[in-house]
């Protein structure tokens, strides 16, 4: 039997190839059958971009297909691509603009870390998120992370005290201070809206484009990817007038400069 509905995964979402000859109602039935059969392949609650190939669809037909997909699978379709555009590139571009840490997806067939495919710049994504308050766990070492599914960064409100560690596979924004003895580890960037006096590790997945920014930059150590820099041994005793600073890698070294 000829397959009228073929579902393919790519790095950024799925492609559904539809037979162009059969009737639309038959197509819907086949789609349902195909989705039910394939349910174990698709991870629930992942947000996806989908593109349809092989058949021209009117808007109403597209709506019907989407509701079928929603009805009989757990796929969470965020975005529908126009099949005429160059698929791979467009997926990639959308993801690039939606997050700041670059391409994180891997090549495994279907749905692991599917990124939210929203066409919004990084800054507006961060502004739209409500600040999460996160308390420390009784066991004391790692502070539990609370992330929403559509975040590209994590918020922590409060002072990070000595002995506490905050980790994330994305970026971290801290609204508060990071005291000496505390450490922040992110695969993405680190932004401290307060004083950074502890240890910050950004780009933990070897991303040399990550940065660390703080309103008062006075860290014990900063690490970006595999480059580590430490604070100077001479500490001045009087308070200098400080401005927000950003640390990033230039020429294999960590450079700290004022944020303009």
């Amino acid at each position: 039997m000829k397959n009228t509905v073929i579902i393919k995964g790519n790095r950024y979402g799925i492609s559904i190839v539809l037979d162009k000859d059969i009737s639309f109602s038959q197509l819907l039935k086949d789609l349902e059958a195909r989705l039910e059969g394939a349910e174990e392949f698709f991870d629930s609650d992942k947000q996806l971009a989908v593109t349809f190939e092989g058949r021209d669809l009117t808007n109403e037909e597209l709506d019907e297909i989407l509701s079928v997909i929603k009805g009989c699978s757990r796929l969470n379709i965020q975005y529908v691509m126009d099949e005429n555009s160059d698929l791979e590139t467009t997926f990639f571009d959308i993801i690039q603009t939606a997050k700041d840490t670059g391409d994180e997806s891997d090549n495994s067939a279907v749905m692991e870390e599917s990124e939210p495919v929203e066409v919004s710049g990084i800054l507006s994504t961060i502004h739209d998120q409500a600040a999460n308050t996160s308390g420390s766990s009784p066991g004391d070492h790692t502070v539990p992370q609370q992330t929403r599914a559509d975040n590209t960064g994590m918020f922590y409100k409060g002072t990070l005290r000595s002995g506490q560690t905050l980790e994330s596979k994305e970026s971290i924004v801290i609204i508060g201070d990071v005291n000496p003895g505390a450490s922040v580890v992110a695969d993405g960037n680190i932004v401290v809206i307060g004083t950074l006096k502890g240890t910050a590790t950004a780009g933990n997945n070897n991303d040399t484009n990550a940065f660390v920014m703080a309103l008062v930059m006075d860290p014990i150590q900063i690490q970006i990817a595999d480059v580590i820099a430490r604070s100077s041994d001479t500490k001045s005793h009087f308070k200098k007038k400080t401005e927000p600073m950003i640390a990033r890698i230039q020429n294999h070294q960590i450079c700290v400069e004022p944020v303009r």
Binding site: G139, R161, S162, N179
Partner: protein, 263 residues
């Protein structure tokens, strides 16, 4: 309504025991019924600082093990009849008491006392856990030194994780002359890093050495440290008192005034 206060610091030697003795005595002076508990098992010294070491018959470990009733272990203070001490054991170690036993004991004591003050040992292991188990509030003692502040910060994190919400700071052994020369952190510097409310600052005072050696807490005395501790006690009771001007360095200032007059 009894209040259970733990006096802790993380770092050793910053003045927890001295503070416990003085705050306890000060509250007793202000007519409260107070019991001090030394939870540093194996290295007890609250009894020495209070001058009551020769009156010890039973101790905290005896009480939790059921060898005696707590009333038999309590020692009444030499000067104030409303002040009691529950001493620690010198020959056991910190594993002899559990947090649950502490909680049970404190519940008993709450029926009789207005204030229960727990002198916490240095560190963050079993001794610390025992001391904070039954506490409602904490007083963190720190000196204005980076190492002490680092440890105090850690302790504050642990206290917050253990749901002790009321945490106040005592900055001990501050030397205003060094602060003015920029050689010591100021009280404001310390408060800025630790980000908790300041309940008092006690200056470095020779009289403290004398008082601890003689077993006579100096709270309420005319010395600067005595006044500072007494103010802390009043603030614990809810009074709103201005902080002392600690730049009156007492002895040296008087001496220099004397020389100036003679010129």
């Amino acid at each position: 309504m009894s209040e259970v206060i733990v006096i802790t610091s993380g770092k050793g030697g910053v003045g927890k025991t001295t503070t416990t003795a003085n705050v306890g005595t000060g509250l007793a002076k202000l007519d409260k019924k107070v019991v001090l508990i030394d939870t540093d098992i194996g290295l007890r010294n609250l009894d020495v600082v209070m001058g009551l070491e020769n009156r010890i018959v039973y101790n905290l470990v005896d009480v939790v093990e059921g060898n005696c009733r707590y009333k038999q272990a309590l020692i009444k203070d030499k000067t104030y009849p409303n002040l009691f001490l529950l001493p620690s054991a010198q020959t056991k170690d910190k594993t002899s008491v559990t947090p649950e036993q502490m909680k049970k004991l404190v519940e008993e004591l709450k029926k009789e006392f207005d204030y229960i003050i727990l002198d916490c040992p240095a560190g963050i292991e079993q001794g610390f856990k025992n001391a904070i188990a039954a506490a409602d509030r904490a007083l963190i003692v720190t000196t204005p030194e980076v190492s002490a502040i680092r440890d105090a910060d850690r302790i504050i994190g642990l206290l917050e994780a253990n749901e002790i919400k009321k945490i106040d700071l005592i900055v001990n052994r501050i030397r205003m002359d060094m602060v003015k020369r920029g050689e010591m952190m100021s009280i404001e510097d310390v408060v800025e890093i630790l980000a908790i409310d300041l309940i008092g600052a006690v200056p470095d005072d020779e009289n403290i050495v004398i008082s601890t050696n003689q077993g006579q807490p100096l709270v309420g005395d005319n010395s600067l440290a005595g006044k500072a501790y007494f103010n802390i006690c009043k603030r614990i009771l809810g009074e709103d008192i201005d902080f002392l001007d600690l730049s009156e360095s007492g002895f040296f200032k008087k001496l220099s005034k004397l020389f100036k007059k003679n010129n």
